[in-house]
C-alpha cells in the first residue's frame, strides 16, 4: 500500500510540469473566459445570460455554426472512410508501404502559407484550374468566392489530413496479429467477413483516437480559409473561428467568451458521448 502511494507520488511528480502548463495556459484562462461570458465587454459589469442570448440570436454566429457543423459532418466521415480505405490497401502492400506512407504525409509537412499560395495559384480567377476549365470551353469562375468555395475547403482538409489518418489507421491495422487472419482463412472466412469480424473490432480503440484527432483538426482548416479569403470569405466557408477572430478585433469579448463556452460545452459533450458509446461497445 505504502509502495503504491510512493509510486503515485512519483507519477504525480512527472505529471506536474505538464499539468502546471495546462493549468496556467489553458484551464485558468478558460475559467476567466467563463467569468467574462457573464460580464460586459468593457467595465466588467454583470450581464447575466445576456451575452448568451445575444450570441444565440446572432445571425453571423448561427451561420458560422451551421457551416462548421456542415463542414465537420461532411469531412469527418469522408476522411475516416477514405483514410481507412487507403490504409487497408497499404496493409498488405509490403513493398511500397513505407514510400506511400511518406508520400501521404507530405501535405502535412507543407507550411500553411505555402498551401495558401498553392490555393491561390490553383483557384484564382486567372489560376490553373480556370486555365484547364477554359480548355473545355467552360466559363471560368471565382472558385473561392462562390458556392464552390466550400468544396475547395473540404478538398483541402481531406488532402492535408488524409496521410496522417492513414498512418494512424495503419498502426492499428498492423497491430492485429497475422495469426488471427490466418486462422480465419483456414476456417473459410472471406475478405468481407474478415474485415467486419476481425479488422473492425480490433481497430476500435485506434478509431476513437483517430475520430477525436480528425475532429479537432477540422477546426484548424480556418487558417487556410482565413489566409486565402480573409476575414469575410464566401458565406459558405465562414466558420466559427472567423466570428471569434472578428469579434476580438471589434472588442466583442463578451460575445466571444459566451460563444467559446457554448462551443466548448458542445465539443466536450460530443467527446464524452463518443467515449461512452465506445465504452458501451466494450472497447
Amino acid at each position: 500500500m505504502a509502495n503504491r502511494t510512493k509510486r503515485d507520488r512519483i507519477g504525480w511528480l512527472f505529471v506536474l510540469p505538464s499539468l502546471a502548463g495546462v493549468m496556467i495556459f489553458y484551464l485558468v484562462p478558460f475559467v476567466d473566459v467563463v467569468r467574462r461570458s457573464f460580464r460586459q465587454a468593457v467595465g466588467g459589469g454583470f450581464a447575466g445570460l445576456e451575452n448568451y442570448r445575444q450570441v444565440l440570436l446572432n445571425k453571423a454566429f448561427i451561420l458560422a455554426i451551421g457551416n462548421t457543423v456542415r463542414f465537420v459532418s461532411i469531412c469527418l466521415p469522408l476522411l475516416l472512410l477514405l483514410s481507412l480505405g487507403v490504409a487497408l490497401l497499404l496493409q498488405n502492400q509490403k513493398r511500397y508501404r513505407e514510400v506511400m506512407k511518406s508520400a501521404y504525409l507530405v501535405p502535412l509537412a507543407i507550411p500553411a502559407t505555402s498551401v495558401v499560395l498553392l490555393w491561390q495559384l490553383l483557384f484564382d480567377n486567372n489560376g490553373f484550374l480556370n486555365g484547364i476549365v477554359s480548355l473545355f470551353h467552360i466559363e471560368s469562375r471565382d472558385w473561392m468566392n462562390d458556392g464552390t468555395a466550400f468544396g475547395v475547403l473540404v478538398f483541402s482538409y481531406i488532402w492535408k489530413n488524409l496521410g496522417y489518418d492513414v498512418v494512424l489507421w495503419l498502426s492499428g491495422l498492423l497491430g492485429i496479429p497475422v495469426s488471427i487472419y490466418e486462422a480465419a482463412k483456414v476456417d473459410g472466412a472471406g475478405p468481407i467477413n474478415t474485415f467486419f469480424y476481425i479488422t473492425i473490432p480490433n481497430i476500435k480503440p485506434v478509431a476513437f483516437t483517430i475520430v477525436i484527432l480528425s475532429f479537432l483538426n477540422s477546426f484548424k482548416v480556418f487558417r487556410e480559409a482565413y489566409l486565402v479569403a480573409g476575414n469575410y470569405p464566401h458565406e459558405s466557408i465562414y466558420l466559427l473561428q472567423h466570428v471569434f477572430n472578428n469579434w476580438f478585433s471589434e472588442l466583442s469579448i463578451d460575445k466571444m467568451a459566451a460563444g467559446s463556452v457554448l462551443l466548448c460545452t458542445v465539443v466536450a459533450l460530443l467527446v464524452l458521448l463518443l467515449q461512452r458509446s465506445w465504452d458501451k461497445s466494450g472497447v
Partner: protein
Amino acid sequence: MRKNSTTKPAFGIVLRMWESKALCLLFVLVLAVCTGCSKGDNSNKGGEDNKETTQLNAGVGGKGNGRFLESEVVLPGKTGRILTLAKLKDGSLEVVTEGKEEKSYYILKSNDQGKHWEEIPIKGVPKTHIPYAAVSPDGSVAMIPYAKKSSLEIYFVDAKRKTNQFGLQLPGNEEKNQIRQAAYDKKGTLFARDLKGSLLAVDLKKGTCKVVFDTNGIQVNYFGIVGNEMLAVHDKGIQIFNMEKKDVPESEIVLDDLIKKDKKLASSSLDSGAPMVFSEGTEDGGIVFANGNGLFHFNRGGSVTEQLVDASLTSLGSGGIVLLDLVTVDQNNFWVAANDNGEYKLLQYSYDSNAASVPNKEITVYALDESSFLRKVVNMFQKQHPDTYVKLEFGLSDDDGVTLEDALSVLSTNILADKGPDVLILDGLPVDSYIKKGILSDISDVVEEIDESDGLLPKIKESSKNNGKIYAFPVRFLLSVIEGDSETIKSAGSLSGLAERAVKLKKGSDQGVIPESKGTLTLLRDLYYADSASWMTEDNTIDKKALTDYLSSAKQIYDVDSNGKEHDFHTKMGSGTIDGVKVGTLTDSELIEGNSKMSMGTLVDFWSLQNMVSSWQLTKSDYGLLNHEKVKSYIPYLSVGVTESGNKEAAKEFLKILLGKKANNSPQNGFPSNKAAFDLLCKEKMDSKAVKDDGSISFSTEDEKNYNFNMVNLTKQQIDQFTTFVESLEKPAMDNRIILDIVLEQGDKLLLGEQNLKDTVDTILKKVNLYLAENN
C-alpha cells in the same frame, strides 16, 4: 537483510528530497511564468526600442529632479526669417536674420546669452532673396545669394560691419550650379556644399573654390562642422573628414546607424535647413546633435548616445520642424535655430535642476495612421502641460507590414488589459461598435465649450450626435468635388448624372474625358466617399439599390476611358493615406493638358483649393460638390474620441487643444471643423501676402509641352461659394475601413469586367451584412 533495511529509508529520504526539490523548482517556474505575465512598470514608455540610447532626462517613470527645458528666445521685433546662428570666439552669440520688411537683413548680437540684442542692419546687400549666410568665429558674415549659372556674388560683412562684394566661380563653368549650404570652421575658412553634393573650400579673395574632400562620388546631402572635423551626411550614412589632415574619411558607427535606421535624417538639406544639426560637445571629442527625435550627446568612438532632450516634450518633435543651426553655449545650455512649420524660432534648452526629471502624468493618444498634424498638436499640448507626458501611438506604419486586423487586435488587447489609450483617433476604427460597448465617453462638454469660444461648423456638430451625445468628433474634414465646365458640374449632382455626362462627352471624341489617374480603386474610392453616406438603412444594413446605383455609375464612368489606366493612385499609395492625410485625389494637371474634360475627387485642404482655383486661369473651369443632389457628405478626418476607462480629465484637456483654433489654423491636412480657424484661413487665402511667395506652378509633359500658372488669392465670391458648400454638408461618409475594403475589392472586379453587376452587389451585400450582423 541489512542492506535492505538501510537502503529503503535512504531511498525514501532521497525521494523526499527529490520531491521537495522538484516542488521548489516547479514553484519557481510557476512564479517566473506569473512574473513574466505580470503588468510590470518597467516598459519603455517612449515606445522606442533603442538599445544604443540612454534617456537621462526624459520619459515617464524616472525619479529625481533635473531636466532640460525648452524656451523660445525673444528676438527684436523686426526679425523674420533666420538665416544662421553661431557662437563667436569671444563667447557672444550672433544671428543673421531677414527683417519682416522684406529683403532687409540684420545681424543680431548678444553678449549675455540672449537677454539683450544689438540689432545691426546689413548695408550694401541687394534687396533680393538671400538664402544662405555663414558667420565666422570673429563675427564677420558671408551672405550667399543664388548663383546665375555657376557664378555668383558673395557679400562679405567684416567684423567692423563693412560690406565687400566678391565674385565666385563654382565648379562646372557651363552647367548650372548653386551653393546649397555654407559654414565657417574654427580657423575662419568658409566651406560650402554645392548642388552636386560636393564639399568646397571657398577663397573669397581669389574668387575661387575647390573640391576639398574626396567623397568617392557620394553626394553629400548636408554637413556640419564640429571642432576640426566636418561631418558629411549622405544617403547611406555619414563620413567624417579631418579638416587638418584632409585624408581618408572616417566613419562613425553610432551616427551611421542612426541615419540608416531613420532615412528622413539623410534627406537633402533645403533652403530652409536640414533634418539634423551638429555642434561641439563640452567634453573633448564630444558631439552634440539635434534632430526630430531630440537633442543628443555622444563621444566620438563611443557606442552610447545620451539623450539630453526628448523631442516629444518640445518643439523638436512637432513634426514639421527643419533645423538651421545648433550652438553649445555651455554644458547646461544649447541653442537651436529652426523653422517650425514655417515659423522661424530660436529655441533655448537650459538645464533646470529643480524641474521634475520626467513629467509625472501620462496620457496615450492612439491613431491608426501616422499624422504630422497630430504630432504638432501633441507638441502644443506638451508645452502647455509640462507635467503630462503624451505617448503618441500609430497602429499602422509602412515599414513593419502591420495589417489593419493586426492593429485592431493589438488595440483590443490593450483596451481589455486596461492599457488602452486615453484619446482615440477613430479614423478607420469601428466607432459604432466602440460606442455600443461603452468604450467611448461623451465629449459633448468639450465640444460645447469649443463651440462657445470659437464656434464649430453647425452641421458637422449636429451630424456627430448619437442619441444626443457626442462620442466622436471630426477635427478636420475633406470634401468630394467635381471640376469641369458648368454642364458637367450641373450633371454631377448625382453619380448617374455624372456617368451620363461622361458618356455624352466621349461620344465622337478621341480625347480623354476621365483623368488617366483614376484607376479602378481610385475611382471607386472617390465615388464611395461622395455616395456612401446614404447607404446605411435604419435596420443597420446596406441599401441594395444605393449600392447598385453606385457600382453601376462607377462602371459606366470607368468604361468611358478604360484604356491606358496604368497608374492607379490608390494602389501606388497603399492604404490611401500619406503621412496621415487622406490623399487628395483631385488633380488639375490633366484638365490643363486637355487630356480629360472633368476632374473629380477629394479636395483635401485650403492649399488644394487655392491650387485648383489658380489653375482655372488655364482651364476656365468651375467646381461644385459631387453627388450633392443625393447626399451632401463630408469625409471626416481625425475623428477624435476619449475612452471611458482612461484619464478623462487630461484627455479632455488634450481634446480642447486638438479642437481649438490655434491647432487648427493650418491650411494643410484637411479643412478645420473649428469655425474660427476656418474663417481665419478663408481670410488668409483672400488676402495673403504669402501667395506672392507661393509663386507659380510649372510642369511639363512627356512630349515636352510646358504649362505654367501663377498662384492667386481667392476672391470673396470664391470664398463665399466655398463656405456655402461647406455649410451645406450634412452627413459624414462611411469611414469604416472593413466596409470600404470589401467594396473596393469587389468593385475592382466589376470595373475590370471579371464579375457582373448583380454578382458584385450580392457579394458585397453578403460580406458587409455579415460584418454588420456580427455586431448586432
